[in-house]
Amino acid sequence: MSTQTLPPKTEAPVIVREYVDRVRGGDLGALPAVLGLVVLTVVFSAFQPIFFSPGNFANLLTQGAVYVVIAMGLIFVLLLGEIDLSAGFTSGVCAAVLAITLTNMGWPWYASVVAAMITGAVIGLVLGTLVAKIGIPSFVVTLAAFIAFQGVVLLLLKQGTNISVRDPTIVAIANRNLPPWLGWLMAAVTVAGYAAVQLAQARNRARRGLPTTPPLLLAARVGGLALVVGLVVYVLNLDRGRAVVLQGVPIVVPVILVLFLIWTFVLRRTAFGRHIYAVGGNAEAARRAGISVDRIKIACFVICSFMASIGGIIAASRANSVDPNTGGSNVLLFAVGAAVIGGTSLFGGKGRALDAILGGAVVAMIENGMGLLGYGAGQKLVVTGLVLLLAASVDALSRKRAAATGHR
């Protein structure tokens, strides 16, 4: 079954036409999020030039990091068609565990981080078991956890005192930058690694006579990635300090990059990831194929809460402290919004780790841009709520469209 490769001349139009067909058929992919990013950038820059400064760009990344990380975990639960409403306060509980062990008990930073992560994983194990084994709808389980964890944070923090986090390593995560040369090295390794993986894959497929991605598309992908990564690192390496030199890629960026690579690998290259999609697409089919649906569900809740714990650590680092509001108020809404805006379906079976980054950027831009324009928390929440609603409508409508045209 070797497919005739098309002559190079017609390649580009064919790729474009296939993409347009896909989009019109309801498979929007990253399009809404990318469009949103462009529109928001233009609008906010027009009204408030500071928005478009390197300083604000770096600010935006650290601001959005918590949402991105929690959203990346939520995607696993959303892929199953489930929801975790407690992820925000799970991150709060884990941040509280971090602060207490670190500041009050004097543990070394790595021990505290591990304690916070284990707390997250255990929470996920409990939630997942309740959903998968007992069969309580995830909405109810995690709503209960949402309320209970709010109380747990209060109890852990002794009725709302604020515990400061002063450990230099933890504080550095969200507040310090890589030296410029390391930023460039990271960018080079990322692009080279991506190109190498794509090339190796294409070569392997070509050797076996399987249809391959057209070289032009490959080149465009690698080139596009190099452009984006190069631009980001360049801007972040500009001096954005007022009195002292302040430059470099914030440390959260490589943290997110590593998490993104790990989860993308898990979802796309392992049998476990494949089974998550299968359970989300058709749980009965997965069961008949011999997949342990319960185990997949529990694992996804564990991953979600584990990622929430990392989000909590980043939040604690950014605020230099943990208080009863850490992970509270709008964190969960923003994280779910990030995942859905990025293109993850609320109906299950569709989503990528990349969605969290794209959607998280949109959410962070709204919060940051509206803040710069002088709007208060009220307006910000209303707008974010509306954007989430818009993203969910796009999801529902494109699903309908996809069902009608046979795409998905």
Partner: protein, 257 residues
């Protein structure tokens, strides 16, 4: 009946769900290289019998022989290990996965930790080519974009991918149009010609007579008759289905114990 021994043979299968006995002393055989049609009215016990064969429902008593050896089949895994694959009416495909991913679902090829996509795609392509399937555009298209006949094809290809010896098809043409039905029936015939034992469950007499070598008729949980398709007429089979007997054939009064 035939010179060759059946691949799959059931003797005296009883199955009850609580107080309701669904299968009474059922005997059933499937032969390599032949299509055996399993017919019967609604509630005759076809699906239950198939689920007993596939290990989804354990049978209460009776004997299960595979290639002449007595075996125990207590789970779908046991059945799959023997080489018995069932293609269910509702297909059990994941819409959000592509053809290759569906065909290997739950039995992915891996090299180390990583999925071996290239090998899986190669094997899937070979299997589909072996079944002379040329209607799919790309093996990497999502199942949601396939027509009913193409989905049925993928489901059948999934079943034969594993060097299975017995393939059971539950109403494969029920939801299909005329052209697609013909396509699927041709595929069913091909499976048998490749040496597999095929069991075809169907309501449609035309389909049954078009491809079957043998016909087994269930009537109210009893095996009314298992005959060669060439030795019976259309109306005889209908009689077997509706009343359990037809002249010399079928259940005798009181013989159903």
């Amino acid at each position: 009946m035939s010179s060759q021994a059946p691949v799959l043979e059931l003797r005296g299968i009883d199955k009850s769900f609580g107080p309701v006995q669904v299968l009474h002393n059922v005997a059933f055989s499937a032969y390599a290289g032949e299509v055996t049609a399993l017919v019967g009215d609604n509630g005759a016990g076809k699906s239950t019998l198939v689920k007993c064969i596939g290990g989804i429902h354990p049978y209460d008593s009776g004997e299960y022989y595979f290639e002449g050896n007595r075996v125990q089949v207590n789970s779908p895994r046991d059945a799959a290990a023997l080489g018995v694959e069932i293609v269910y009416q509702d297909l059990a495909l994941c819409d959000n996965l592509d053809i290759v991913q569906n065909m290997f679902l739950g039995r992915e090829r891996k090299s180390g930790l990583v999925l071996d996509e290239a090998t899986m795609e190669e094997m899937a392509a070979k299997t589909l080519a072996g079944l002379s399937v040329r209607t799919v555009k790309s093996l990497r298209q999502h199942v949601s974009s396939l027509s009913g006949g193409q989905r049925q094809t993928v489901a059948i290809a999934k079943a034969v991918l594993w060097n299975s010896k017995v393939v059971i098809l539950d109403e494969p043409t029920a939801a299909l149009g005329v052209a697609q039905t013909a396509q699927v029936l041709e595929l069913v015939r091909q499976l048998a010609d490749k040496g597999l034992a095929v069991v075809l469950i169907s309501h449609n007499m035309n389909d049954v007579f078009a491809v079957s070598d043998r016909i087994a008729a269930l009537y109210l949980g009893r095996m009314a008759a298992q005959v060669k398709a060439s030795e019976v007429t259309h109306s005889q089979v209908v009689e077997l289905i509706t009343s359990g007997r037809s002249g010399e054939l079928g259940l005798k009064n009181g013989a159903a114990t």
